[in-house]
C-alpha cells in the first residue's frame, strides 16, 4: 500500500528558484495535493501551495505536474509508476510569487474588462422566464471553476507576455460567449470580442479544451461559434440583425 515517492518540486520566491528533490510517503488513494501537504507537515512547513475544496470545485490548486497543467487535488497518485519521479512546478504563464503559487491577477484584470450582464430594464426580478434548453449553453460555460489552466496553456500568452494586454484568454473569451448566449443579455458582444478582447489571436488549437478540468468544450462550443458569427456579421449585416430579432422574440 504505502510507498516512498520521489518528488521534484519547484522552490523559490522573487523570480528565483530551483527544483528540489524530496522523498515522501504516499498512501493508498492519495492525490498529488495530499503528498504536497505531507511535505508541508513533515519536511518543508513553508512550502507555498493554494487549495481549498480538495474536490475539484474551487479551482485553487492549479499546478503543472510533469509539465501538464493539472488540479493537484484531482490527480491520483495511482496514475504514476511508483518508481517515477514526479515533477511539480507552478503555472508557467503567470509570475511566480513563491513555490507553487503564482500571481494570477492577470485573470481578474481581464474579468473586469468584459462588460457585465446587461438585461432589459423592464423585466422585474421574479419575472424572468427561460427554457432549460435556452440556458444550457451558457450553463456549460458557467461550470468554469476559474482554475485559469486554459489561460495558462494557451500559446498566445504562454510564452508571450507581449500579447497579454490585447488577449483575454480562453477563460474570458468564453465569458463573452456565455453572456452572448444568455437569453436576456442585450449587448452585442461579437465585435468587441474580436476588436477588444483578442478573439482573432485564437487559432483554435484546442489546447485550452484539453486541460479544462470541467471538460467544458471551450473551443468548439464557445470560441468557434463566436468566430463564425463575427464572420457572418462582418459580411452580412442581415444575418446579424436576424439573429438579434430572433433572440428577442425567443425571450
Amino acid at each position: 500500500m504505502g510507498y516512498k515517492a520521489k518528488f521534484r518540486v519547484w522552490r523559490g520566491e522573487g523570480g528565483e528558484g530551483q527544483l528540489e528533490d524530496f522523498t515522501v510517503e504516499v498512501n493508498e488513494g492519495e492525490v498529488v495535493l495530499d503528498v504536497i501537504h505531507r511535505l508541508q507537515a513533515t519536511q518543508v512547513p513553508d512550502l507555498a501551495v493554494r487549495w481549498n475544496c480538495k474536490a475539484g470545485k474551487c479551482g485553487s490548486c492549479s499546478m503543472e505536474i510533469n509539465g501538464r497543467p493539472r488540479l493537484g487535488c484531482m490527480t491520483r497518485m495511482s496514475t504514476f509508476e511508483e518508481t517515477e519521479t514526479i515533477t511539480v512546478t507552478p503555472m508557467r504563464t503567470f509570475p511566480v510569487i513563491k513555490d507553487l503559487v503564482c500571481d494570477v491577477s492577470f485573470n481578474y484584470q481581464k474579468a473586469r474588462e468584459i462588460p457585465s450582464f446587461t438585461p432589459p430594464k423592464d423585466v422585474k426580478p421574479g419575472e424572468y422566464r427561460m427554457q432549460q434548453i435556452d440556458v444550457e449553453r451558457s450553463q456549460e460555460f458557467r461550470k468554469c471553476i476559474e482554475c485559469f489552466m486554459c489561460n495558462n496553456v494557451c500559446h498566445v500568452i504562454r510564452d508571450h507576455d507581449e500579447n497579454k494586454p490585447a488577449f483575454a484568454g480562453p477563460r474570458f473569451l468564453m465569458r463573452i460567449a456565455e453572456l452572448d448566449m444568455h437569453p436576456y443579455d442585450e449587448l452585442d458582444r461579437k465585435e468587441s470580442a474580436q476588436e477588444e478582447h483578442g478573439l482573432g489571436y485564437c487559432n483554435i488549437t484546442k489546447c485550452c479544451t484539453e486541460v479544462c478540468p470541467e471538460h467544458i468544450k471551450i473551443t468548439d462550443n464557445a470560441l468557434i461559434p463566436m468566430k463564425e458569427r463575427v464572420v457572418d456579421r462582418k459580411y452580412d449585416p442581415l444575418v446579424w440583425l436576424g439573429s438579434k430579432i430572433f433572440k428577442r422574440s425567443g425571450v
Partner: protein
C-alpha cells in the same frame, strides 16, 4: 505600514460577505472586502444542493409560512424565530435578484426557476444548478461586484473607488476605540506585510470552524477566525454546542474522508442501506416526526411523484437524525466494508439521469474513489459540516453587541437553532448578508464622528511571534492533536467525561501553541499562517466544549449519551460564550430566549408544540390562538 480608510469593512468573500458588501456599496459606502483565499474561492463555492426559497414554482402550496415552520422544526424550536421569519419571507426576493445579476438556475417546464426536494423541507424548495449551486451563487455575486466596479470606473475613473477586494489577506484582530469598532488589522499572505483598515463598521462573514475536526467537509479556511475575532473584541457567541455532522461524507479513500456527498442524492431518490441491504432509516423516525414520514418503502417511493397523497421517505429526515442513525448502524456492526453505510442511487435512476442531475458527484467518485455511482452504491458516513452557533446578533440588522460590529452567514448564530436544514444556508447568506450591509451602512450614517485610529503595536507583536520562535514546536502537530481530540471527544455523540477530557487537552494545547515556531520567511508561509490560526481554533474549540458540557439534553447537533432526551426547559435557554481580550477566561452563561410572537406561534398545531414547549409556554400559545 499600509493603512486604508473605509466606511464598511467586510471580512469574508463568501455569499454573506459579498452580499453585505454589495449592499453597503449600493448604499453609497466606501467598502472593502477582505478574504484569505483568492476572490471567488470562498467556501460558498463548494455548496452543491441549492438555496431554499419558498417561491412555489414547483408546488404552489409552498409559501413563507411553510418554510418558516420547516426551519423551526429542523432547528428543534431553538431558532431565533425572528431570523427564521425574515429568512423565510425574504429568501425568494434574494434568489430572484440573482437572476437580474446574471445567474442561470435550472428551469421548470414553464420557464421559472426549478426547485428540488431536500431533507426537512415539506415541498420542493431548493433553487439549484445541477449540483453546483454554490459556484453559481458566488460567481454571480462576484460578477455583481465587478459590475459595480465598472460603474464606478465610468463615473469616477477608478473601479476601486467604492468597492475594493483585498484577496489573500488575513485579519488577525479587530481594532477598537473605547467600546466601539475602529477597524481591523491583518497581514498579506503573499508578502507577510501588515495592513490596517480604519473603519467605523466591520461586517464579519468568515464562515465556520470545521478545521478543528479531522473528518470534515470544510477547507483550510474554516479555522473559526470570525468567531474568535468577535469574542476577542468583546462580542458574544451563542449556540456553540450545536455542530452539524452531515450524514453523508465520503469515507474512502482515507485522503478524501469527510468530503461531502450532497443531500441532493437523497432528494433525487437515493436510498441508504446497511450491510444487510435494509433501508434502515425506517427504523429511526423519531416520535416528533412520526406522522410526517412514510412507514413503508412503497409509500416513500410514491412520494417522489405524488406528494399530496404520500409521506416523504425517512432518508429525508433532518440531518442530525440521519447522521445519528448512520452512526448507530456502523456501531452495531451493520456498516459497509470501509466503515460507512451504502448510499445507492444506481438502482433508482437511469444512468443518464444521474449524470445529468448529479454531475459533480459522478465526477468526484469516479476520479477520487474509482466508483461509478451509476453502477454501484457509494459508501458514506458522517462528517463535520456546519456550525449552527456563532456571533449573537440582532435579527433585523446583524448588529453584534459591540457597536460597529456586524455578522452574517455561518459565523452568525441563532437562525438555524440546533440544526440547520440543507439549503437554508445559501439563502441565509443572501438574506442576512444584505441586512448586515444595510445595518452597517445605517450605523455609519448615524455616527457623529469617526472613531480615532487605533494603535496596532500589540496586534503586530502577536502576529509576528511565531516567526521569532524559529526553534518552536511544529504547528501542524498541535493542529492535528486538536482535530483528533475534538473529533473523538466532542463529536456526534458526547459524554460529560469525554468533554471534560477534551477541555483538559485544549488547555495543554493552548500552552503548546504559545511555543509553536515557523521557519522560513514571511512570504506566503503556510506554517506561519497556521501558527496564527491556532489561537482561533483553540478558542472556538473551548467554547464548543464548554457549552456542550453545560447543555444536559440532546437536541439537533448536540447529542449527549448521558442525557439522551430533549428537554422543554432547555429549549428556552441559550448558552452564551464570552472571553477576555487575550482569549483567557472563557465563560458560558445561560440566557432565556424570548417567546415566539403570537402570530408566528399560531402557525403551529398545539399537538406539535406539546412535544417541544413547557406548560407555561403552551398556556401562552392558547392565549395567542384565542386572541387571533
Amino acid at each position: 505600514m499600509e493603512r486604508h480608510e473605509y466606511d464598511v469593512v467586510v471580512i469574508g468573500a463568501g455569499g454573506a460577505g459579498l452580499r453585505a458588501a454589495i449592499e453597503a456599496r449600493q448604499q453609497g459606502k466606501r467598502t472593502a472586502i477582505i478574504c484569505k483565499s483568492l476572490f471567488g474561492k470562498a467556501h460558498t463555492v463548494m455548496a452543491e444542493g441549492g438555496a431554499a426559497a419558498a417561491m412555489g414554482n414547483v408546488n404552489s402550496d409552498d409559501n413563507w409560512m411553510v418554510h418558516f415552520r420547516d426551519t423551526m422544526r429542523g432547528g428543534k424550536f431553538l431558532n431565533n424565530w425572528r431570523m427564521a421569519e425574515l429568512h423565510a419571507k425574504e429568501a425568494p426576493d434574494r434568489v430572484w435578484e440573482l437572476e437580474e445579476w446574471g445567474a442561470l438556475f435550472d428551469r421548470t417546464k414553464d420557464g421559472k426557476i426549478s426547485q428540488r426536494n431536500f431533507g426537512g423541507h415539506e415541498y420542493p424548495r431548493l433553487a439549484h444548478v445541477g449540483d453546483r449551486t454554490g459556484l453559481e451563487l458566488i460567481r454571480t455575486l462576484q460578477q455583481r461586484v465587478v459590475a459595480l466596479q465598472q460603474e464606478d470606473e465610468r463615473e469616477h475613473g477608478d473601479p476601486e473607488a467604492f468597492i475594493k477586494v483585498f484577496a489573500e489577506c488575513t485579519i488577525t484582530r479587530l481594532l477598537k476605540d473605547g467600546d466601539a469598532i475602529a477597524g481591523a488589522f491583518g497581514y498579506w499572505r503573499e508578502t507577510g506585510d501588515f495592513i490596517v483598515f480604519d473603519a467605523p463598521a466591520v461586517v464579519l462573514a468568515t464562515g465556520g470552524i470545521g478545521k478543528s475536526y479531522v473528518v470534515t467537509s470544510n477547507s483550510w479556511e474554516y479555522t473559526g477566525d470570525g468567531h474568535a475575532l468577535a469574542v476577542l473584541a468583546g462580542a458574544k457567541l451563542i449556540n456553540m454546542e450545536f455542530i452539524q455532522f452531515h450524514p453523508t461524507g465520503m469515507v474512502w479513500p482515507p485522503s478524501v474522508r469527510g468530503i461531502l456527498v450532497t443531500e441532493s442524492v437523497r432528494g433525487d431518490g437515493g436510498v441508504l442501506r446497511n450491510s444487510e441491504g435494509r433501508r434502515f432509516m425506517f427504523d429511526y423516525v423519531p416520535d416528533v416526526f412520526k406522522d410526517k414520514y412514510a412507514t413503508t418503502e412503497e409509500e416513500g417511493d410514491r412520494w417522489y411523484t405524488d406528494q399530496a397523497n404520500n409521506r416523504r421517505p425517512p432518508e429525508l429526515l433532518p440531518r442530525d437524525e440521519v447522521a445519528r442513525a448512520i452512526n448507530s448502524e456502523v456501531k452495531a456492526g451493520r456498516g459497509s466494508p470501509q466503515g460507512g453505510v451504502f448510499l445507492d442511487v444506481s438502482s433508482r435512476l437511469p444512468a443518464a439521469e444521474i449524470i445529468k442531475r448529479l454531475p459533480s458527484m459522478h465526477h468526484q467518485f469516479k476520479e477520487l474513489a474509482d466508483v461509478d455511482i451509476t453502477q454501484e452504491p457509494m459508501q458514506v458516513g458522517p462528517t463535520c459540516h456546519y456550525i449552527m452557533g456563532g456571533v449573537e446578533v440582532e435579527a433585523d440588522t446583524g448588529a453584534a453587541s459591540v457597536p460597529g460590529l456586524f455578522a452574517a452567514g455561518e459565523v452568525s448564530g441563532g437562525m438555524h437553532g440546533s440544526n440547520r436544514l440543507g439549503g437554508n444556508s445559501l439563502s441565509d447568506l443572501l438574506v442576512f448578508g444584505r441586512r448586515a450591509g444595510l445595518g452597517a451602512s445605517a450605523y455609519v450614517d448615524g455616527l457623529a464622528t469617526r472613531p480615532s485610529a487605533a494603535d496596532v503595536t500589540d496586534a503586530k507583536a502577536e502576529a509576528v511571534a511565531p516567526l521569532e520562535r524559529t526553534g518552536g514546536e511544529n504547528p501542524y502537530e498541535v493542529h492535528h492533536e486538536l482535530q483528533r481530540t475534538m473529533n473523538d471527544l466532542v463529536g456526534i455523540i458526547r459524554k460529560a467525561g469525554e468533554i471534560s477530557e477534551a477541555l483538559q487537552v485544549v488547555e495543554k494545547l493552548k500552552e503548546r501553541s504559545k511555543n509553536t515556531g515557523s521557519s522560513g520567511s514571511r512570504v506566503y508561509n503556510p506554517g506561519w499562517h497556521l501558527a496564527i490560526d491556532l489561537r482561533n481554533m483553540l478558542l472556538v474549540s473551548e467554547c464548543v466544549a464548554r457549552a456542550a458540557l453545560l447543555r444536559e439534553e440532546s437536541r439537533g447537533g448536540h447529542t449527549r449519551d448521558d442525557f439522551p432526551v430533549m428537554s422543554a426547559d432547555w429549549r428556552q435557554k441559550l448558552l452564551v460564550c464570552s472571553a477576555a481580550p487575550d482569549g483567557s477566561g472563557v465563560t458560558v452563561e445561560e440566557k432565556v430566549q424570548p417567546s415566539m410572537r403570537g402570530d408566528l406561534i399560531s402557525l403551529f398545531e398545539r399537538s406539535e408544540l406539546e412535544k417541544y414547549l413547557t406548560e407555561d409556554e403552551l398556556a401562552e400559545y392558547d392565549a395567542a390562538v384565542k386572541e387571533s
